[in-house]
Symmetry: D2
Subunit: 352 residues, 4 copies
């Protein structure tokens, strides 16, 4: 691949990050590909802190599913409602349609919305180690065929009705789930907060309330309360062959902190991590290699590699979020970091 | 740069796209870097159509500014309010602070929010050909110093109060403006719609209402009504050295279509294109080269290159959005395209 | 009750409205209590039109439930997750707790959100003919006691965690359901549109797209696409003893229209009608009388009277929405109506 | 007015509430009309506390304006943009159109949104002591006439484009302003918190973060972070002849609290109080009398009576919000209050 046929996004390995919890118990270095070079030292600082806490970052996988919504036009709302009842009743049949059409996809949920004569059906799947966009679309296509043949009074509207929803801002993804939902938590001793982050638990918590919670609310945010999840996610996604456009929903997460007698409880909740270890992008040499080095190409039950990847992504997000939040408690620190790090032409990537 | 020190995102040039309007009158090929290879033919189809319309895609730059909000703690709301009145009165002085500290940044607006004793000040700047994250942060830092010295009863809260807002979902960016606001429009003759897109203006318009407007509303979207702006934006941003995480706010745009006696009026409104032709990422060889080939490194008045870039980005978005929307009017077309294009392991990148 | 001990909100009966569908097949007059007198002729015009269509307004009850969310503090996210799994497994036991504590409340659903160490549990109930605020709170209180006694590692956070959500703007209520979800539809012949509404199906549909869908999106609305549901709901709620503050979520509905060869398909989707025929406010003489006259105090299965009431409310909303939307297609009509109706001091109540 | 021609909403006077600040320095009793009788003791408790703090509730009026948006169809986005520039340039002329058409309305602001070929113009006015719906609509109508006559390439779309926005959920009202924006603050000594509210500043603050900020965010709220503003607003609005449907936007406010060494800082920010002392509803005998008793029918400069009313409304909201928040820190307190207060048929109105 020559220069002109790719965008060569600079990549550094950062870490290790210490992680514990139900899915990963490990110390891992992570690859971050970004044009914003100050992101590396920012995440590095957080990673260093994770290793100073015995159990490291506690990561919990709360959910794992992929969704696709189709859109049907019904004769009227009553017909739409009847169709929903019928499909719920025949859910087993729908499951068969999916399992017949795919080795990995499994139908695990069905939601709907009726607006006038329009029917939005949201199918939820497990998709093994794939992020699952494609598997979900294929399955939805087959389900749609089945429904159009078997349910009276409904017609094709669209293979995607935006109630999925992919690469767009929504509330539905956080409420019903789409992708891996991972919570990461770190309890940082008071002295580490002081010496490494040059701040206190009280000041970080005050900042989190005012900036991430109140500021985001004033800005008209929706299900968003963080400083810069998108930065870490994009760099991690690019480095591992993910579809980076999914940082749109990935960015919608919640930072929650507590001052626990001077120790800092710092958590990041990421409800919509859409990642996989197989599929588009992952076949590229560097992506394969990076995934392998992350331990995400091992022999495991279907889905386990992808969940490991999601946990590592989430831990990476915590490292960068912690570092920036701490910096913003101190007047001028962000610009000082910038002046030191961005020579000649760059800026502190972690700024927002 | 060796394999291990970058993420080599595959890049293809697509086009030309024909563009007219107040900023660009040209036919331009565009570079798209993506792991989702079906994005290329999808945008290519739209580009081809733009050349079949005499005036091509009409692009209008509606706004151009960068914003950063700082957060102050005041004694109480009254003190916050008094501070705002004072700063509005001394706006000229604030402008001087900014112009003294930067060759390119110019302060053009000041907004605020008061919540209890908290004061969020949102500064708006023009930043020449830079996207302006850094310039805005530096200027905000200097303004903050000035304010803390000159306004009684207020204290440092944060250099960023999330009322900016950067790389996060919001309503404020669309309402007050952040980045370039570009509207693109294309009026496609009925025969072209039929022969090239295999659909009709009526069907595209019906789909747009149901999917992009109603579906997005049901999903709990905020200021978002499109199919997949994020895909085109990320690919374009990566190819031109932009901070790709800004696709989060970039994704919040509105597709509006009309059936005009069989001809298809198709428009994309992108209120938050955060792009520049200088600054981080643009110093990389391939980015410089790509920007040059796009005609965005020419001798022009400050800001003109960046606006040209924004217009081309917006036109690219229209091409991809048009192509996908047309495809989704036809049952099965998306998956058929996928089966043809994604051998062996990929999927239609434009899906969502 | 003397003048000084009440707010005597002027009330008129409007109608009849012709309604069909799964719940109500009837012509009913409806009571509207409002300070905005032009609301009456506005709804009256819509009601008149409903009687010109043979089947009248088709109303479909799509859902019926009440929700209350409690908030728990857990040791960490993993403990919260374990608690959720446990409660889902023991759902039968939770159902017993509720049925033991109430004659009418039945637990029908459990949702959750985990953010850091916080656990939000959203309980869903059927509550017979009561709107159910109280019944749901009582049941949630008992469930909370049960959980605090039986689930390790969780502590009391709040009896309400705002994930319910009551009398506040949200997306969760529309997505998961709270109150009665009713869709009303009316297909109005072309001539009636012309003669009675002085407009066309095409113009109403164009207006609906631009104003209710695009305008609301630009305004940063959330799950809202209508002109003035709140007006009709408040007047109807006050007249029937409902808790009028529930118009906040009631206002979040979607108007969808179609031009069907000149006939106007007009629909209103109201996902969150929180009404009852027993409980607070309904014991007042006039409320009882009004409910009786609406046929909502009859001997029916528990819940049937309340659903009838919700359907009538929804049909009333359609009448007022149709009338205003038609008026706004014509320049100046709103102000002309106002000038005629608001002598000397009033205004067209239906304006917004 | 006989029973059958009104909805007689029970009303009690509660207070006095002690208020200070730029607009009101007074102790005032407030009338609350509601079917939810527990609202009275709830607000009463908060009012009592306000009198135990020497300066009472500090209220600051941060903004005061009314808005109406019109919708225009333009030839294309460029024409829309040119129209905006023209109107901004001729703003003085627009101001004249308004002042010629009304004694009280004054045009003070103009905002716009362009989406494709659609142009939304948002006019902002001061409207004296009227809430101003009507005055704004009349002025918008005249402005529309003027624009249609003088600006080329634009056509009538709608007298209201939902970018106003009235009685609907939005972000625009909070960001750009609509109605009175009032912040109320109360600093409650530690002992009062303990003895009267049976809680601590720390517990109230923790609850506020978890419930009002995080819970509302998870629920997909937009610019909303409170427990039950809508309850107090509706009761106050009904008692004073206001258009109660404006509680929809009124409900979108932010409760912010701090634990100040054991003292409780408690604030309510209400950006969209849409109230007046003249106009619809205020001519009714009881409304006039109630406004008079509130001191809002005095001889004052235009607008001053309405601002006084808004401040009193906002202080009332604080009283009820404080009381409920304190109650929810204690397990079981809400239901105990309910059991005591709602005999035989009522419930604690302040619950949500």
């Amino acid at each position: 691949m020559n220069e002109s046929s790719c965008a060569a996004v600079p990549l550094e390995w950062v870490g290790p990050i210490r992680i514990s919890g139900d899915t990963v118990r490990d110390e891992v270095e992570v690859p971050l590909a970004t044009y914003e070079s100050p992101l590396w030292p920012s995440v590095r600082r957080g990673a260093r802190i994770s290793t100073m806490v015995e159990s490291g970052i506690l990561a919990t996988v709360v959910d794992d599913r992929m969704a696709r919504s189709v859109l049907l036009e019904a004769d009227d709302a009553r017909t739409a409602y009847t169709a929903v009842r019928l499909l719920e009743h025949d859910f087993g049949q729908l499951r068969e349609v999916v399992s017949n059409g795919s080795r990995y996809a499994e139908l695990i949920g069905l939601h709907h919305q009726i607006a006038g004569n329009l029917l939005f059906l949201r199918f939820e799947f497990t998709t093994g180690d794939a992020a699952g966009h494609n598997m979900a679309t294929l399955a939805a296509d087959q389900l749609l065929d089945h429904i159009l043949r078997s349910v009276p009074g409904v017609r094709y509207g669209s293979i995607s009705g935006n109630y999925c929803t992919d690469k767009k801002v929504s509330a539905v993804n956080g409420i019903l789930g789409r992708g891996k939902n991972v919570v990461t938590e770190l309890l940082i001793p008071r002295e580490v907060v002081a010496q490494r982050l040059h701040t206190t638990a009280a000041r970080v918590t005050t900042l989190n309330i005012r900036k991430n919670l109140i500021g985001s609310t004033l800005a008209g945010g929706i299900r968003t309360a963080n400083a810069h999840y998108a930065n870490m996610l994009l760099a991690f996604y690019l480095a591992t062959g993910q579809d980076g456009a999914n940082i749109v929903e990935g960015s919608q997460g919640i930072t929650h902190t507590e001052d626990r007698d001077g120790d800092l409880y710092f958590s990041c909740t990421l409800p919509n991590l859409i990642v996989g270890t197989i599929g588009n992008g992952k076949h590229l040499g560097f992506a394969q290699e990076n995934l392998r080095r992350l331990g995400c190409r091992a022999e495991r039950a279907p889905g386990a590699n992808a969940r490991r990847l999601a946990v590592i992504a989430a831990a990476t997000v915590l490292c960068g979020e912690l570092s920036l939040m701490a910096a913003q408690t101190n007047p001028g620190e962000l610009m000082r970091a910038h002046s030191q790090l961005e020579r000649p032409a760059t800026r502190i990537g972690a700024q927002r």
